[in-house]
């Protein structure tokens, strides 16, 4: 059991390296050193605080719009909060349109604390970072499984089958894509090329969960040597659904074999 669990830990997490230990010791020693300077800092902060209290009543308050690029939480009126909330929802909806396979939503407005309100630009950046992080994880997880994927196979009936892995939060799913391709000899290039693709379907081959394909589009490229198919669908598990779009490539070699 212990060994089984350990196998699931990535190799670069298994050990706390000497370099990391040294870094920790260094940071600990830095935190010690910083104690020495803490008194002057406290004095400085107190001085600045007093100066602010004395000076602030005599100066005009800055327009809140000037703070729009700030990452720090800001104080807003109820009307501004409503506007910001609408923006947050728009930003998240836009992110979800990418159909990366992640489930994002904005919590109810009543759950926002004063310290949670940030400018929409900062919110958008935060969402994009979250999506990018998810995509980076997806790339890593799929790359780790790439050796498990075999080239496309064409059956006697002319159906070409090829599998891909799709990543959803914390779970990898294997999906098999089936399509019919037509190839034709090109005198000009002296080789076989793709001429058509249709009947594209996809199905989940690893349980649990369900996959429902909702649409597909085919793109012929590289002078007829490559088909790229974009497939969209919905993966559902335990009443949770994730929209996902992915692409899969098929190559036609000079003899008309598809891989």
């Amino acid at each position: 059991m212990k060994d089984e669990l350990e196998k699931s830990i990535p190799v670069n997490v298994v050990k706390l390296s000497e370099k990391e230990k040294s870094l920790i010791r260094y940071r600990v020693s830095q935190s010690q050193t910083s104690k020495i300077y803490i008194k002057p800092i406290i004095v400085l902060v107190l001085f600045m605080l007093i100066a602010t209290i004395v000076v602030l009543p005599n100066t005009k308050l800055m327009d809140t719009a000037d703070n729009s690029s700030s990452q720090i939480a800001i104080s807003l009126t109820e009307r501004q909060k409503q506007q910001y909330y609408k923006e947050y929802v728009r930003i998240v909806d836009k992110a979800m349109e990418q159909k990366v396979g992640i489930g994002l939503s904005v919590p109810p407005i009543e759950e926002f604390k004063e310290s949670d309100w940030i400018p929409p630009e900062a919110y958008e950046k935060m969402i994009q970072e979250h999506v990018d992080e998810f995509l980076a994880t997806e790339r890593k997880k799929i790359a780790a499984m790439s050796s498990d994927l075999k080239p496309a196979v064409t059956t006697m009936e002319g159906q070409t089958k090829k599998a891909v892995y799709l990543y959803f939060p914390d779970i990898l799913k294997r999906v098999e894509v089936t399509a019919n391709f037509d190839t034709q000899y090109s005198k000009k290039l002296d080789r076989q090329l793709f001429v058509a693709a249709d009947n594209v379907s996809s199905k989940l081959v690893s349980s649990p969960g369900t996959w429902e394909q909702t649409s597909y589009e085919v793109f012929l490229g590289n002078d007829g040597q490559q088909y790229t198919i974009r497939i969209e669908g919905i993966f559902t598990l335990n009443n949770l659904s994730f929209d996902k779009a992915f692409t899969i490539q098929y190559i036609c070699d000079e003899f008309g074999n598809i891989r």
Partner: protein, 176 residues
Amino acid sequence: MTIDEKERYLNEALDQHGDYLKRIIYTYVKDIQKTEDIIQEVFIKFYKNLDRFEGRSSIKTYLYRITVNECKNYLKSWHYRKLEVTEYVNVWKNRTSLEEEYIQREQNQNIAELVNSLPVKYREVLWLYYYVELSVSEIAVVINCTTNTVKTRLSRGRKLAKLSIEESVGEYEFER
């Protein structure tokens, strides 16, 4: 406690528990970079709070408690309030159907995969018990709950992860 003593404790903790703590952090956050950040914070907190360490628990339990708190703080951080993320492992809306779902999984599925796909509250007790080999009472201290809660979560977690009978039966096992 003198600085020398504190440094000795730190070095011992790094050597004896560093590897395991890092692995446990990963099981919570599932992100290598974040794991590396958190492990640093854990040891800095450990060092800073050594003066307040009263010896009511072992250094090991104390370290794991800091670790679990740091991980949970991270999991509760910004996006849990400003953004709802539907994460497969964190959702526990319909326990009955989810249990059935897990139980129906194929026999040949990897145990670790099953354990790692469980919600945090079950996953953590299984890792702490089977991997770190903490006792039920130590886990209760680490995750700040009662021993009965730990036993219940272990039992349910084992059921969800389909751990075999040899691994799971009997109250005797809880005596560790």
